[in-house]
Every structure is written in C-alpha cells, then in structure tokens.
Symmetry: D4
Subunit: 214 residues, 8 copies
C-alpha cells in the first residue's frame, strides 16, 4: 500500500485459506488502530468471496469487479471527480475494479458505459460529464482506440487500461496496450493489462485534493 492509502490484498494465486488468514488478521487488527480506511480484496474467485463473506459479516462485495471491501463504507469523497469509461460488458469487470478502488481511496466517481469508437455519437453525447472530470480512466480492449479519442476531447489526463478481451491478434491485451502507448493525443497514461486496481489507485492520486502549496 502507498503511504496514506488503504491496503489491498491481491487474492489471485492465494488459496482460500491464505485469504481467510489475512482477512481475519485485518478484522482483528482493526480494533481502533486504523479507524478510517477500508482494506480491499481484489481478484477474488467465488471461493474467495465465500470465505470473505464469512469472515466479514458486513463486507461490501462487488461480484462483477471481483472485489471485496471492509469496512464496507468508502470514505467521504474529497478532491476532484474521477470518471471511468468503457465500451461494453466485457470490459466492465476491469472498469468497476477501477471505479471502486478510486472510491475507497476517497474520490467521487462516475461510470460511463456503452461508449465505443465505432459509434462516435454516443461519446459526444457524454461530453459534459467527461469535461467535468479531474481525471478519466478509459478501459478498452481490441484496438485500444478509445483513450486517443477521449483524450482529444478533454483537457484532463487520461489513465488508459488495456484489457485482455478479444482473440487472435489481440494477443491477450498486447494490441490495445501498444495502441495506448502510441496514443496520438498527448495526456494518456498507461497501466498494465486488466489492471483496474492500478488505474483506480493512480486516478485517485491524480485527483487528490491539492496541497496548500499547489
């Protein structure tokens, strides 16, 4: 965890028993010590979700994002608004992981779905919400063209997340990753393939309330 931000437990590759042990430690350690700040459990399998809902009776569980947060309430939002954009249902798990991460790091967040490059009118229809954002997270697979288009429309920085959606020459996300690294509009920051957590974290840092010196 970064200095001053909540902890996240990356569950992929951990056994349910390992996750249970961590969760119990989190639950028991929380007695007063870290009164604010949820712990996030990311990339949860069904078994992980099961274990976590037993350890925490009141956890916030998002089945699409495969993310669990406890304590369940995100902090009251400060800083600028974070907008998360994606084209459709296949990119939704990554988009929601980014959204929830930024929310639990204390930002006001909004999700814009069904916005794809092959249908420009739908993007243009959402210009007001895009232009109000302090930072925009754009989640996209296949040709990875959406961040270029969005970055061309706004002045805020764009955090681009390639996804492993697709087949053949998508190469598990390499195609959109390369496209995003070569975005023809400046202002595009790239994170790892499918890394919704990292994108949300970065967006929350970017949209953090300005220090007094800023």
């Amino acid at each position: 965890a970064r200095r001053g931000y909540p902890e996240a437990v990356y569950c992929e590759g951990k056994t349910p028993d390992q996750v249970r042990a961590i969760a119990e430690a989190v639950r028991d350690a929380d007695q007063g010590e870290k009164p604010g700040g949820a712990t996030l459990f990311t990339r949860c399998s069904d078994d992980h979700l099961d274990v976590l809902s037993h350890v925490f009776s009141d956890a916030a569980i998002d089945e699409t994002a495969r993310l669990v947060a406890w304590p369940p309430a995100p902090p009251a939002p400060v800083g600028g608004p974070v907008v998360v954009v994606c084209a459709g249902t296949s990119d939704l798990p990554v988009a929601r992981e980014a959204l929830l991460t930024a929310a639990y790091l204390g930002r006001h967040c909004e999700l814009v779905v069904d916005v794809g490059v092959a249908g420009l009118h739908r993007i243009l229809a959402r210009l007001p919400v895009l232009r109000a954002a302090r930072v925009i997270v754009v989640v996209a697979g296949m040709d990875g063209a959406l961040p270029s288009v969005v970055a061309g429309l706004v002045s805020a920085p764009v955090v681009a997340v390639p996804t492993s959606v697709g087949y053949g020459a998508a190469f598990g996300g390499i195609a959109p990753l390369l496209a995003m690294l070569n975005a023809c509009a400046p202002g595009v920051a790239v994170v790892n393939i499918d890394n919704g957590y990292g994108a949300g974290h970065l967006a929350a840092q970017i949209a953090a309330p300005a220090a007094s010196s800023d």
Copy 2:
C-alpha cells in the same frame, strides 16, 4: 501483376542498373503490344527516379510517393470512387502510393488529409465525401485508431494500411497493424505495413465495375 491489371516493378533492393534494364525493356516492349496500361515503378530512391526520368522522357513522377508511371496518363476512370484518408504529412507517402496505384488501375480517386482521431470534428466535417466512396483506404500509424472510427461512420469497406511512422512501442508499425486487425467496427481489411501499393490495388479491385451478373 494480377490478371488484367498493369505491371508494377518493386524497385527497393534493385540497383539503378537493374531498374534501368527493366525500364528499357518496358519501353521497348510497349510497341503496340499492351497499348493501354501503364507500368508502375514503386519505392524509387533518388537514383531510381534519376534513371527512370532518363529512360522515359515523359514519365509521371511523384516524389512524395516515390512512384513513377509510364506511359504517364492513367486510364479513364471506371467503377466506384476510391477515397484515401490519412492524418498528416508523415503518412502522406504511403497514402499517395495508394492513391496513384488505384488511379492507374482505372479508378476515380480522392485524397483526404489532416483527419486524425484526436480531432473528431475534422473527420465529421468530411462525412459526405467518405459516405460517397465505394471503398475507403485509411492510412495510419501510431495507435492505428483511424480505421475503426471511419468504419463506424460508413457502409463501404475500409482498407487499412498501418505505417511505420512513430518510435518506441510503435515497433515499426506493429502497434497500428495489431490495432487494425482488432478494429472494433466490422468491415476493415488490413494490408502489410507501409503497403500503399497493395492497398491501392485492392481498393481498385473492390471498386471495379460490377460484372453483368452482379
């Protein structure tokens, strides 16, 4: 050369002397034999241009496309209109190679430049010419996003040409090549990196006059 279409001589990797020999054979063989149909010399270096302007006193020379045609006059156009689109000067050599190839194969051609993904309004301003095309050749480097956007706006097929413009993770054209193979709009045909000749040829075939049975 394809059945019924003009010959093309690919000059890259040939010595000026080799090109001269081919050109002289073309000039001398043309006595009546193949009365219509120019021969194209593609990817000419300055030395090649020099040699060819000596062999053919009246060749058509395009310095941007590095292409020479002889006899210089393209055939009277038949079939549907071909539109060639690119974002800027770096992609222009490839775009013009496509344009000229299609023209010498007998199509009516139009060039649309300065149309990029990061400035949607410029694309939208050219919708009428795009929608009038029988086929559109889209030339793009870097994120290779332009074919997806164009294909989403028209019903005609799009021939996408990735270019080697860019640096770093553009990997000499791999980034736009992959993006185009994963275009999120259907109707995108891809050719080799920088292959303006192939794109123009393909476009001319697609826009060929319909046979009586069609």
Copy 3:
C-alpha cells in the same frame, strides 16, 4: 453493427444468462420495428446454443460454425457472388462462419472445401467457380499459402482469414497471419485470426450491389 447491416452478438465470454437476456430483448424488440435483417449470435458454446434454441423456437443453428441466426431466413441475395474456400475440416468452422455471415448480409454464397496448396490440381479443377466470384474468402492455417495461390489465379479481391489450427511454430495463427500480410500476389485483404465473421462481413460489403454512381 455497421450502418444498414444486421446486428451480431459475440457470445464468447458472456454467460448463458447474459446471452439469454440479450436474445429475449432481440425477440421482443422485433415486433415490427426491424422487419428484415436477422440478428446473428456468433461463437456460441453448447450452453449458448441451448439457451438460444429455447428463446427462439425457430432459430437457424449451425453447429459447425457455432452460429445462430434469428429470424432464421436470410434475405434474398443481391450483389455479386461470394465464394468461401478452405483446405479441410479443421478450417471448416471459420469458413462456415464467414459463409453464413455473408449470406445473412444478403449475398449469394458458395463453399469450396478440400482445396489445399499441396495439391494444386484440386484448386485448378475449381477455377470456373473461383473466377465467377465477385470476392473470394480464403480460410487457411499453418503456412497460410492458399490466398497467394488463389489471388494469382483470379482478378477478384481475396479476403484472407488465418486460423489458429496447427501447433508449435504456427503460434496460434501468427504464421499464416504473417504469410497472408506478405502475400506475393496483390489483392489480398487480411482480417484477424479465426475471424470468419469479419471476413464474411467484409466480403458482403465488397460484393454489395453497385450504387448507381459506380
């Protein structure tokens, strides 16, 4: 879906429940609204086929292509003939996906199988049907050599589809993809690995009836 063409639902990566919901929406929305034009469901698993045959009592189901169409009747064909070619049974699912897509987009289609590069006589025996096509879709894995050979024999454009058939240095379709991008005959358009849908869509656009201006 492209302007004026039917919708397609890409089922891979969707749960049976998600596909059911989409299918029910399609079925219910069709009350008069879009009287012509089938919806295609592509890349269906057995579970998807099951769900779809329950939602639509009269859907057209192709188990080889893993494709479902509803309403089941393709439109009366217009435009030029589309010919789909492949070497054998392993490439058949992709070939049939291309064939059915073009048919549901309103083209007359013909399938030519068992035509491989290692047995030229079988290709030469099919020359009449190949030369009658307005566009030819060539589906091939391994060395991806078939499009070069076919393109050398006809004047129509060739849409080449690499398949992930093979092992080792086939690299899941990279070998034929590269071969096709480097086809030594001009007139070869390439789509993504295993992308029969895209190839059929593109072929239907290429073989569309000429506009009056063409």
Copy 4:
C-alpha cells in the same frame, strides 16, 4: 495539441524545409492571435536546430533535449510542482524534454539527476524534494527499476518513461517498459519509450491547478 495547451511540432522524419515552412507559419501567425503559449519543436536534428535559429532570432534552444521553444519565455508557473528524476547522463535528453515540456505548459519544475537504484542512499538523500512534488516524472532505461522505488517512497503519482538506453536484452527500451508496467508499487503511469514530451505533458495536466469544484 490538447485543448488549452501549446502546440508541439514533432520534427523527426520531417525535412529541414518542412520544418522551416511550419516555423515560418508559426512566426507569422502569432501576430496577436495566440499571445500566450509557446510552440515547441521536439526531436530536432542539428539541421533542424539550424533552420529554427534562423527563422526565430530569439528562440529558446536546448541542445540536450533537442527542443526549441518560441516565443522563448515559458508562462508564469501555476499548479503544483513537477519533479523530474533520472539516473545519469544517458537518460538526460529524455528527462530534459519532459522538464521543458512541463515548464512550457506552465508548471514549476525541478530536475534531480544521478539518482539510481544501485545506490539507494542518493535517492534517500533527495526525499524532501521528492515528497514535495505534486507529480514525479521518473526516466529510466535498462532494468526500469527506479519508478518502483520512487513510487514506494511518496504519495504523489509517478509518470514513468522507459528509455532506449542499453543494449542486448534491453531491446531498445522493452525491458524497462515491461518493468514499469509491472511496477510493484501502485501509482505508476507509463508512457511510450523515450517519450519525454508525453511525460512532461501528462505531468503538467496532473499538476494543473485544481478547478474550483475540486
């Protein structure tokens, strides 16, 4: 150029004559129209520098960054401080390109050099300046380890720029690019290899003065 930010001309791949034409247009257009905001010329060869120093008698020229700005004065800085970090002289051209870009976009910038992963004490000695930054640009080649280390020490977002410095398995910047995409500390945004301009632009957007709503 992004909405509200200065224009940049990417000179690589342009002839000196093309650059001269653009520069003259910039110089002549500036009569009152865009009173603030310098135009940046990036990736200038010696010939480009020569041409530009003739067109603009008073341009700001940085030979290390290969960057020219005109009018020469950057705007008065607003927003938060940008810190640019690199390990040594080989990464300096990219680092300075980032620094100058951010400065001409209106940020207060500071450069920290000679800070490498193999000598932790030098990084730790600069902690106060690092912790005062609103955003840190970290430029690194070879193992690309520096952004992970820096991101672990601060709460601000880190913009990581891989460089093509090195040989063999550095693969022209692929090694640090991959390392940065897999940074073990969250909060690392990655841009293209050697893309100092993009990093500086992004940093300026991140450190922009907060809107009143933030």
Copy 5:
C-alpha cells in the same frame, strides 16, 4: 547431475508411475553405493508427493517448494553462507526450492522474506545478514527490480530468479527476466524463470569451499 553433486529428478511431465519407478530404483540402488548425497525430486504434484511418501517412509517433504529429498538429512554444511531473498508469499515456492537445493548440496542457508522494492526500509533492516552472505539468491516477479537493489548493497554475487507471478505485461516472467538481464548494478547472474533448483545449485557451487589453490 553435475560431477560430485547429488542427482535431481524433475517430476513435471512424468506420470506418478514413472516417478515411482525412478524412486524405487533410487531406494534400492542406495545400498551402500552412494552413502552420502540425497536425491532430490523437484516440481512434485500432489500425486507425486503421495507416491514418494509411499516409496520412502522417511523422505523430507516440502509442500511449498514441491520438493522431496531422500535420504532426508542434508549433509553437514561447508563453504560460505547462502542467503535467499524474496518479497512475499507468491515467490515463496521458488525461493524455498532454491534454499533446499543449496542446503542438500551442502551449504548453510538462510531465508529472508517480505523484502520488496516498494518498501526500502525492510531491505535496509536486513543489511547485516545480506552482507554476511557468500552469495545471495534473489527471487522476484513483476518488475524484477529487487536484484538490482540488493546487488547495489553488497559485494557478493547475486543469483537472480525471475518468477512467473503476475499478469498482463508480466508475460509469464519475461518482464522480470529482462529487467534482471539489464540490472543496473554489476554482479547479477540470471537463471531461467521459476528455476529455483538451478539458482540453488549455482549458489551452492559459488559458495563451495575454496580449493587449496584459491
């Protein structure tokens, strides 16, 4: 097996029956012949562990490292101390495989866990044990930055083992492999991805007692 070192049986890809046959041969051959020197069985599945615990009633079994040794007692350690370092639980199987291999080759070994690049203070806290080592094995996935940092702190050689932990652009261990090959501190030796056995073997050879001539 190397001259003078124990044999190792790589179980991955062998059926339980094949492993049983080898194990029985080892057990029966050991009658007096090779009185010292355990045989190692590496990369054991649960089925392999099962078979081996039946063939050898007294084998040493490490479930984390998936390694079995018989006879169970490692030799009395000679030569210099080997320290094995990793950042967390995901790298532990590889780290323990290295540790046990070096121990069964006759070295004194120590394991240092929970030492990551994003938390420098934890590394610095372990400096005394790191500086006492004759050789350090550093196991790391993701950005593979840990060997560079460790090598910068000590004079002993570092054996770096990239792991396949991570996702997306970690590419199954390619990212840390490349980072390690480009370590910015000299003195880093790299072995194959996940190759804990090879790293432990190499470390044992490096830390072997000096010959009289040294």
Copy 6:
C-alpha cells in the same frame, strides 16, 4: 567444415585484413596437403572480394552470391542432382550461394528462376526438372509459400531457405521462416534465414552417393 567436406570461411564481420590472413594461410597450406577440395569464402563485401582476388590470382568469384572459391574448379559431380528454385532477382544471391556450395561439395546442380506461387503455370512448366531432382532447394521470401507448393509436386525432400527480402510484417524473414516450418506438405526441411550456404551444404549431403549398404 564437416568431416570430408571443404572448409568455408564466413567473411561477414571479419576485417579485410583478417580475411587476407586466412586466405594466405589457405593458399600456402595447400601445398600438396589437401589436393582436392576448394575453400569457400562466403558473404564477401566488395573489400573482401578485392583482397581475395589479390591473394588468389585464379579464384572463382561470384558477385551475385558474394562467394569466392579456391582452387576455382569444383570437383567432378557425383551423387544425385540438386535443383535450386527461386522466384526472382531478389532471392538470387541466396539461391546462387546454395547452388555454388552444393557444386563445390561435388554435386550436379541446376538453377530454376522466375518460378513464383502467384503464377502456377511457370512452376508446372518446370515439373520435369523438379521431378528429376534428388533434392530441391527452394529459396523464398515474403509469404514463404513456394516450398509447400513444390513439396506437393515431387517425392524428393525439399530444403527451404527463407530470405529477408520484403518489408513490414515480413520482419526480416520471420514470415517465410514460420510459413516454411508449417508447410502443409510433409518433406520440407528448414534452414536459417538467408542461409544459402547451409542449404547447399545440406542438399549436397542429402544427394551424396549412397553408401554400399543403402
């Protein structure tokens, strides 16, 4: 050099002085010692050719293949006939290198040029010479389709040599290399990109006179 075959000196990467020294040693050592068997100098630059023509007054020099042989006379041919096939002038240097190597290893050789996949009739016209070969070397760049076609027409083994001719997705010969490794006809042996020497050597070994036991 293989047991019983002539030596070859690979000149690429050697200075003219280094080549001169080797050539003088060859010339002086040949006094009676190895009365038969020429030494081959391959991949000669113009400078290398110059040096070699001075050391050997009577060397055989092939400027296309960049190959020098001394003594100049190849041995009287034994074994079966070797046929070398390629499509055009760009592949000729590699084809001639193969041809000459096989000839100097003692085989009867024939060269067939201007035989490409896009013009099947030219291949079919050469069937008699192809079917008379004991082994066929097929040199091809771009789509690398020629070996598949040739191997489908004959019973003899085919040695396939990919060339680095082409651009873009030819990737310096990777495209034809992969195609050849995936040749859809059995009986295709592959050597390194541009490795005419290796192909000629292998062909000479395959076509060697049968031992009495064969």
Copy 7:
C-alpha cells in the same frame, strides 16, 4: 500424403466420431485398392486410440508415440538406415513418432536414447551407430544443443526436431528451435516444434533408395 508415400491422419482437433468415420473409410477402401502401404493415425488421444482399436482389430498401436498404423505391418525396409536420437524420456514421444513414421515409409530404423549434451561420453560411446546412419533425426528440447554436437561428429545430414519440453524461457520450444536454426555445424535441417511425424517423413525421403541416375 506425398506422392508414393502412405497417408497420415492427424487426429488432434478431430472428434472421436470424425476419426472413426475416417478409419472406417480407410478399412473399407482397402479392399485390394492400395494393397501395400499402411495408413498412420497420429497424435491420438486415449479416446482416439479406443475408437481405432475397435475399427481395426489388428492395428499397431504405440501408446508413447500416440500413433496407430493399419495394416499393422510396416513394409520391408529399403534404402539407408535412419537413426533417431534423443536425450531422455520427455522427448521419447516425439522420437518414437519419428521412428515409426520412417519405418512405415519403408526404412530401417534404430533408436538411441539417453544421449545428452551434458554427458558427452554417452554420445561418444554411440559413435559407430551414428556414423552408420544415412540420416540422423535428433530430437531435443531446452537448449537444443544436441543436433550441433551430433552434426559435428558425422557426415550424414541431421534432421533436428525441437520439442516443447521445458518451462519459462523455453517458450514452448522456441528456445531449441532457434538454437537448431543457428546450429554451428552445417548439415542441420529443422522441422516444426514436436513434429516427429514430419521429421520421420523427411528422414525417409532422404534415406530413400537412390534412383538409377544418382
């Protein structure tokens, strides 16, 4: 199937029912038509073996090579001897597939196992059998070094088969494939990864009885 050689059915990717249908056709067609020449079924799963043993009561089944031949008797061997070499049990399936293929194509075959680069004495001990071969098939994974060593010891051509054995930077056989393409001894022919069938076929063609003209 090549001209004059038996047919092979590649079963991977075929359903048991598809294989059954082919097998029944083979069985029923064999009534007198092709009295000599077995049909080979390669890459059989357990289910394929099951089906084939029901269709053919007397098939030859090799469980290691996953190969079935019917009629079961190979032809009486003619031509030169084929030797197949590999280092151990992991490469045995590929080695046996090569061996059986060559045998059913009519060659005398011998298998040499347990011969690895790390134990030169074992190779040297088998020199007589290696030197008696007309062609040697060398099967190897990991570093793919064995073909170089073997080719340096004999005058016969070597057919090298990389295998997908190994992990990490073996990259499913890419490591030995590249090593073999760069073998430092001439006379090494490479086939696809794991392609024992292709290697055996090629070896049988190379060792075929010389034609009268040879």
Copy 8:
C-alpha cells in the same frame, strides 16, 4: 561500481568530449585518494580510444576488447583462477572484455579460444585447464550450446555470455540467450547479450578469496 571494486565508465553513447571530461576527472582525482584500483573505460569507439590515449599517457589499451584501463597495471591476483572460453574470432571482443575486467578486479585469468561444440575433441583437449578453474566464463553466439557442454564437464560454476554474432534467426543474440537460460546442465549463470564486462565482474566476485568464515 560495486562496493570495493573499481569504477567502470560505459562509453557507448557518450560523446568523445563527455568521455574526455570524465577521464580528466579520474586522472586528477587520483592524487593519492584511491591508490589501488584502475578505472575501466568500456565499449570505446576509435574516437574514444584517441581521446583516452591523450588524457592518459600510460593507459592500457586493448583494441579488440575496446577497453582502456588506467592506471595500466592490474592488481596482483588473489582468489581462484578465472578461465574465459570462446569458439573463435567473432566472439573474441566480448571474451577479452570479460578477461580484462576480471583481471582488473584482481583475479588470475586464462583465455581458451577455438573451442566449439562442433569439434568436441578440441574441448576435451583443454579439460585440465577447465577443471582447474574456480569459475568459467563461456562466450558463445549462434546456438549458444557451448555453456551446456562445458558445464557438463566441470564442477565449477559457468557464467554464460550470449553474443550478437550471427544473422537471421540468431536475432541479435536472442537464440543463444534462450539456449543458455535453458542449459541442460545445472550451474549456468547468464548475463546480458555481449556483456563481457558484466561476466568478468561476476566471475571476479565468484572467484574472490573466501572470507575467513567460509
């Protein structure tokens, strides 16, 4: 520079002026301060050599290794012997860079050339010197097979250096790099392609005199 070892200046990518400035600083700083320990200048171009021979009147210059050392005398050797092995002249620059680096770090070094995998007898003839080494540096390009063979013959650790020698599928050293990472004998440590400096440094650390506790 590592703790306790001499400094090295990597000259590639530095201008002659930059190298001169560093060299003058080294010369002037040496007044008493660091009485032992030469500074190494590696990867020197002809211009760098020129500059350095002017700054240091008595530098040790190795034109093959492109390495300059000053003060010129290496320290009196301590620790175990380092043996550097390579196959021929193309690998010699890297081999000598390793040799000199180890010598200037205080080891006794020996060079063994003309030892290749295709001629085993030459390796076997050098067994005594190989077996006397405390560590062996093996430099090899192409198939990268030499380290596997050497490691199989000795008990000492092997440091393997892939070189960029070769063409085509050697891919600038990737082929031997992968082979070495997959060496079939344990005890092989790999460094970056062409990294003779790193290999020599690592070898010197491995062969360092044992601490009293060892």
